[in-house]
């Protein structure tokens, strides 16, 4: 359920980034849109396969394969988002404008514990590192602008990164509880991002 909601929020962010890109022709928005789309589709497909396999097939192999595919999509999504940040930061050549931040989720349910250990650890570690870069950029954006919306994006990314880090810990110690806590933390991050979308959408009303 958390994955479905998180995936929906990610796709919503992707949609708005795409919509505003049509208006503004902004490359960082394209990166954002694509990154969030990967993330949202990964979350929704993984959640759907897990639900389907749990209800109908009960085959652990499908369950595990869905998690593996999601892991790859998640890392790709984080990378695309980080690239968007880098593009904005370096092409605009202004330290005071550290580009857009992006969000991501990262939902690894206990099935991830069944994946090859090295694959899980590598993917989780990579995700945490990329997210740390994104959070750093979001922090720069917020500290230079003091913008409340930028603060919401920062909070969202921070929670997502923390959730990812907790999940990483879960992989290391093979703890199901670690995953659940990490997933919940990431979900809170997505809720904050949903709040950001709602608030930014109200800006046109004034």
């Amino acid at each position: 359920m958390l994955d479905f909601v998180s995936g929906f929020v990610a796709l919503l962010v992707s949609y708005y980034a795409y919509r505003y890109n049509r208006l503004l022709r902004s490359t960082p928005l394209l990166f954002l849109s694509f990154g969030f789309m990967l993330l949202g589709l990964g979350l929704l497909s993984e959640a759907s396969v897990h639900l389907f396999s749990a209800v109908y097939t009960r085959q652990i192999r499908i369950f595990v394969e869905a998690s593996a595919v999601y892991l790859v999509m998640q890392v790709a999504a984080y990378l695309v988002i980080a690239m968007g940040y880098a593009y904005e930061a370096y092409t605009k050549a202004a330290l005071s404008s550290p580009a857009a931040s992006l969000l991501l989720v990262g939902v690894k349910r206990p099935a991830v514990l069944l994946l090859p250990y090295r694959l899980s650890v590598t993917a989780e570690l990579f995700s945490v590192i990329i997210l740390a870069v994104v959070v750093y950029q979001a922090t720069l954006v917020y500290t230079t602008s003091k913008n409340r919306l930028a603060g919401m994006v920062l909070t969202g990314f921070l929670l997502i990164m923390l959730g990812q880090a907790i999940s990483f810990g879960g992989v290391i110690v093979l703890s199901t509880l670690g995953f659940e806590i990490g997933e919940l933390t990431r979900f809170l991050g997505f809720l904050v991002l949903l709040g950001f979308l709602l608030r930014s959408g109200r800006s046109g009303q004034a």
Binding site: A93, N147, A150
Partner: protein, 94 residues
């Protein structure tokens, strides 16, 4: 924020002009020029663009001409404001 200070994108200038007109209801060119911080030549050019796109309309009030937002202009301004808010969350400039 994303661009060097002092450099505004075309959309940013459109937004500034539309905002002035929205605030005033009916804005005279001098007010737009002053509040949107534009030279006369640039004002003429941008206002011409906006008029051509049907986002603002020129109305005569006595001996002076004023600009008002068209329904399309209000819609466009609303979308620009939303985009601006969305972008600000990610530190991207309009």
């Amino acid at each position: 924020m994303g661009k060097p200070e002092g450099v505004r994108s075309k959309l940013r200038i459109y937004l500034d002009i539309l905002r002035v007109i929205e605030e005033e209801g009916e804005a005279i060119p001098t007010h737009i020029l002053y509040k949107a911080n534009l030279s006369h030549d640039r004002l003429t050019s941008y206002v011409g663009d906006l008029e051509q796109r049907g986002l603002i309309a020129q109305v005569t009030r006595g001996e002076s001409r004023v600009y008002t937002l068209t329904p399309e202009g209000r819609k466009f301004l609303k979308e620009l404001k939303r985009a601006e808010a969305f972008l600000s969350g990610f530190g991207i400039s309009l």
